[in-house]
């Protein structure tokens, strides 16, 4: 495939081509006009002269003084070699006889005035009548005359036109070249700007010429398409990762559970087991299992594989359980962080127990992590007539303002070497899945309060009992 021609070269070729054609056309037309116009003018002059001469010499002619009239007309017309002016009778013979042979132009008398292109002459027959009603023809005044061509003037005019055209064409060519260079440079600058910051859609809108606005619009559309494709690819990549990570975690966790059970059965006979340590191991294995389930949930939701079925959960009960468990979180114990709760009874919402647990555990774990030694984490469940509000409040480090909009995105973590960055992302996913509304209040250095509001269900006693 040949390299495309530059716009400047293309325009130069166009300019040269059209200018040459224009020059040729102008010169051709001018020559035609110069050749034909004198004919036209000569026709008018001869016609006018013929009419005037026959009118002014009419009395002389009709009273017989034809020769004198003829001589005067020949003098007035400056008849030269190859030219003729004389009177003809109606039979086309000369009124004034002489020895010269009569040669008349092939133009017919009826034509009045006509052109003899070959001999470069104009020929006219001006009829003369005896009477005013033009009934009795006396004869004709015949004029056959070269017309004067001012070649010097024509040459000057041609030169003036030619040089004028050349000057105009040169100016046009130079101006066009400069314009095209400017246009090319401007387009190059714009393209460079786009390539340096392709994600900035404002760059696409700043097209330098209205003529390329459609291109800018198309590029903007492409950018949007690319962004969307990137987002899809990113999400799909993340989901695949989650799936494999969750799968990889669940297998060793299952083995850990079996091993821990075997240790309890066999060790009870052989060792004295620290009961609290065993319970803690169970809790952590359970948490690992929950994390793995969370990852699977995210993956399934990402690919749209989520069941529409949604069981009712006693939020008050589940929140209390998790708060109790979180008191034994190793981090909380290690850093002397207290976990308290204040829970209104009989608050029911439409959310699976596991999902609710994952959500609250994640939030509590984050609060514990964000708290300093001796910090406090408060878990509240507050029921209103229409909703249930679950609050996890700490007095920890708080979240900087520039991070507040990002903390619910996947991969964002305050513990780069320890966390997966999926905790709050999972919280947000679950909220959205079950019509929850997520509120974040935080101030750097003072603490964070996260509130989740779910629609409240009115549950009869037998139903509430069945879920316990």
């Amino acid at each position: 495939m040949n390299a495309p021609t530059s716009l400047e070269t293309h325009m130069k070729r166009l300019a040269v081509g059209w200018t040459s054609a224009g020059l040729a056309l102008t010169v051709g037309l001018t020559l035609s006009v110069i050749y034909l116009l004198p004919f036209h003018q000569a026709e008018d002059q001869i016609r006018t002269f013929g009419a005037a001469a026959t009118a002014s010499h009419r009395s002389d002619i009709l009273s017989g003084d034809v020769l004198a009239a003829e001589l005067q007309i020949q003098t007035a017309l400056s008849i030269g070699p190859g030219e003729q002016a004389f009177f003809l009778d109606p039979d086309m013979t000369k009124w004034v006889k002489n020895d010269q042979d009569l040669h008349l132009s092939p133009c017919p008398a009826a034509a009045g005035v006509c052109r003899d292109y070959l001999s470069h002459k104009v020929v006219s027959y001006t009829p003369i009548y005896y009477d005013g009603k033009k009934q009795n023809l006396w004869g004709y005044l015949y004029i056959e005359k070269h017309f004067q061509t001012n070649w010097a003037m024509i040459a000057l005019v041609m030169l003036a036109i030619f040089f004028g055209m050349i000057f105009q064409a040169g100016g046009f060519y130079l101006g066009l070249t400069r314009a095209m260079r400017t246009v090319g440079q401007t387009l190059r600058d714009w393209a460079r700007k786009l390539s340096l910051d392709p994600r900035n859609r404002e760059n696409y809108k700043s097209a330098p010429f209205s003529e390329i606005a459609p291109i800018a619009l198309a590029l903007t559309g492409l950018r949007v398409e690319i962004d969307q494709l990137e987002e899809i690819a990113r999400k799909e990549g993340a989901l695949s990762t989650l799936r494999s990570v969750g799968h990889d975690i669940l297998n060793p966790v299952a083995r850990l559970k079996r091993n821990l059970g075997s240790l309890e059965e066999e060790g009870a006979d052989r060792f004295v087991l620290n009961r609290e340590l065993v319970l803690s191991l169970h809790a952590n294995v359970q948490r690992l299992s929950v994390y793995a389930e969370q990852l699977k949930f995210i993956y399934r939701r990402g690919i749209g594989d989520v069941s529409d079925e949604c069981p009712t959960t006693n939020i008050s009960l589940e929140a209390r359980k998790i708060a109790d468990e979180m008191k034994f979180d190793p981090d909380a114990i290690d850093r002397n962080i207290t976990v308290d709760f204040k829970i209104d009874p009989n608050c029911y919402c439409r959310i699976p127990v596991a999902s609710f647990g994952r959500m609250i555990e994640n939030l509590c774990a984050n609060s514990i992590h964000a708290s300093d030694l001796g910090g406090a984490v408060q878990v509240n469940v507050e029921g209103t007539s229409n909703s249930v509000v679950i609050s996890i409040i700490d007095n920890g480090h708080g979240i900087p303002d520039d991070m507040k909009s990002k903390v619910f995105e996947a991969g964002v973590t305050s513990r780069p070497n320890r966390g997966t960055g999926l905790g709050l992302f999972v919280v947000k996913q679950i909220c959205e899945q079950y019509s929850g509304i997520l509120h974040l209040e935080s101030e750097a250095g003072k603490g964070t309060a996260i509130r989740i509001e779910f629609p409240r269900l009115e549950i009869r006693d037998e139903l509430s009992n069945s879920t316990r």
């Binding site: 009118a55 009419r58 009395s59 002389d60 009709l62 009273s63 017989g64 003084d65 034809v66 020769l67 004198a68 005896y130 009477d131 005013g132 009795n136 006396w138």
Partner: protein, 462 residues
């Protein structure tokens, strides 16, 4: 559809072949027709002749077919020949311009009229001269007498009494078209002074002609009341013509002296319609000369008898002649002024019973040869001749004998210049023929190139 025309005096004798006054010209044009005529641009066109050929010594006219007299009888070429021979017989001296060139006239058949010329026919100017109304076709009775109740012109004489002349339209006329006034009635004017000035008092008339020297107030009244005014441009000359006796016996010197002294502007003070005449012919006319007259040092004659100056009654009401007489007396002349009737002019010319004739004459005649011949060759002439170099009649005859029309014109240009320089004529001012009609009579179709009012071109508004 009637033209009611007043004249200062209806001519006693009406003969289209004999023209002395503008009234004669008018009547001649109305009662005869010529072989050739002029169009509105003064170009020659055919009239009674359909066409003509000119050979070495012969001009052969072919009359129109179906040419008829006013009474419906056919016209024969022999009748035209007879009319021309009659004119030649009666008015030889006035018609020299034509007949001096013509050897014979023949009518070989009913439509052919042949003029055998004395010199080369093409250079004779005969065709041009035949456009003059005095060479028109008139009817003659069996005795050869003029018969005006039968014409080929636009009108024929219907009735004639002492007080009134009535012309009726000839529907057989070659240029007859509907709309031409059917009747022309003519009466002698009531007023004693200039006809134009008296027009307001002529209750009966709707058309009058005269000269353009009219006081401004009268002209203003005509224009205000929607009257039509027609005039030619300075086609007439007012001059002092000495009698031959006076001119040859010192009078020429007196006129020459007067020419160097006369203050034309003072003489014409308060009048309009004229221009001072430095030459006999007006500027633009073929005989006008680039080189005007020179008088050198003119001496006042030592001894002069009392000068009897006669003029026409037409000019009686105007002050300029009285002023001229006063001026002449101031420089030492003794002058008696007397006004005569225009009808008596010819008899005074013949009697030569005056020293100076102060009169206006038409000079812009397209037939220049006829004109110059009329001034100097007719008997008695208006411009007299003396001995060489003042033999102007002889000079005119010699000039007329030249071969080409152009040569004749060049030669004739100087004759009246020389007459002026010699004191044989003193031009005073040029003026115009003028006609005025009441609003219902339209003169706008008459070109200024016409010599007089052609009745057939007048239109009456309905």
């Amino acid at each position: 559809m009637t033209i009611l025309r007043t004249y200062k005096a209806i001519p006693d004798k009406i003969d289209p072949a004999h023209i002395l006054t503008m009234a004669d010209t008018e009547l001649s044009s109305a009662l005869s027709a010529t072989l050739v005529s002029f169009n509105d641009d003064r170009g020659l066109i055919s009239a009674l002749a359909e066409r003509w050929t000119i050979s070495e010594r012969e001009i052969r006219f072919t009359l129109r077919s179906q040419l008829k007299w006013s009474d419906g009888l056919a016209v024969h070429a022999s009748q035209y020949k007879a009319a021309l021979l009659r004119a030649k017989r009666l008015y030889q001296s006035d018609l020299k311009a034509l007949f001096d060139h013509v050897e014979a006239i023949e009518a070989p058949d009913e439509r052919t009229l042949v003029f055998i010329t004395k010199g080369p026919a093409a250079e004779s100017g005969v065709v041009l001269k035949l456009s003059e109304p005095m060479y028109g076709l008139v009817a003659l009775d069996t005795k050869g007498e003029l018969e005006l109740k039968r014409t080929v012109g636009p009108y024929y004489v219907k009735e004639r009494s002492k007080e009134q002349l009535t012309l009726a339209l000839n529907t057989n006329w070659i240029n007859f078209t509907p709309g031409i006034p059917e009747i022309v009635e003519m009466r002698t004017a009531v007023g004693a002074a200039g006809a134009i000035s008296d027009f307001a008092n002529e209750k009966w008339a709707n058309l009058v002609s005269g000269h353009s020297i009219v006081d401004g107030e009268t002209m203003s009244t005509f224009r205000t009341n929607g009257f039509h005014i027609w005039h030619r441009n300075f086609d007439r000359l007012f001059a002092l013509f000495p009698s031959k006796k006076f001119a040859t016996k010192g009078g020429a010197e007196a006129l020459k002296y007067l020419a160097t002294k006369v203050d034309r502007a003072a003489v014409m003070k308060g009048l309009t319609g004229f221009t001072n005449a430095e030459q006999y012919f007006p500027r633009g006319y073929i005989l006008w000369s680039q080189i005007g007259p020179t008088f050198g040092h003119a001496k006042k004659p030592e001894k002069l008898e009392k000068i009897r100056m006669i003029s026409l009654e037409t000019y009686k009401g105007l002050p300029f002649l009285h002023r001229l007489v006063r001026f002449m007396e101031e420089i030492g002349f003794h002058v008696s002024l007397e006004f005569i009737k225009v009808t008596d002019l010819n008899s005074h010319l013949k009697a030569q019973d005056y020293e100076i004739l102060a009169a206006g004459v038409a000079v812009a005649d397209p037939n220049f040869e006829g004109a110059i011949s009329f001034w100097v060759e007719r008997e008695p002439p208006l411009v007299p001749s003396g001995i060489a170099p003042h033999d102007f009649a002889e000079q005119s005859r010699k000039a007329r004998a030249l071969r080409s029309s152009r040569e004749r014109a060049e030669s004739m240009k100087g004759i009246l210049i020389r007459a002026q320089e010699a004191g044989y004529v003193l031009p005073l001012f040029h003026f115009s023929s003028l006609s005025v009609s009441r609003p219902e009579v339209d003169l706008s179709s008459i070109p200024n190139t016409d010599e007089t009012i052609d009745f057939s071109k007048v239109r009456i508004k309905k």
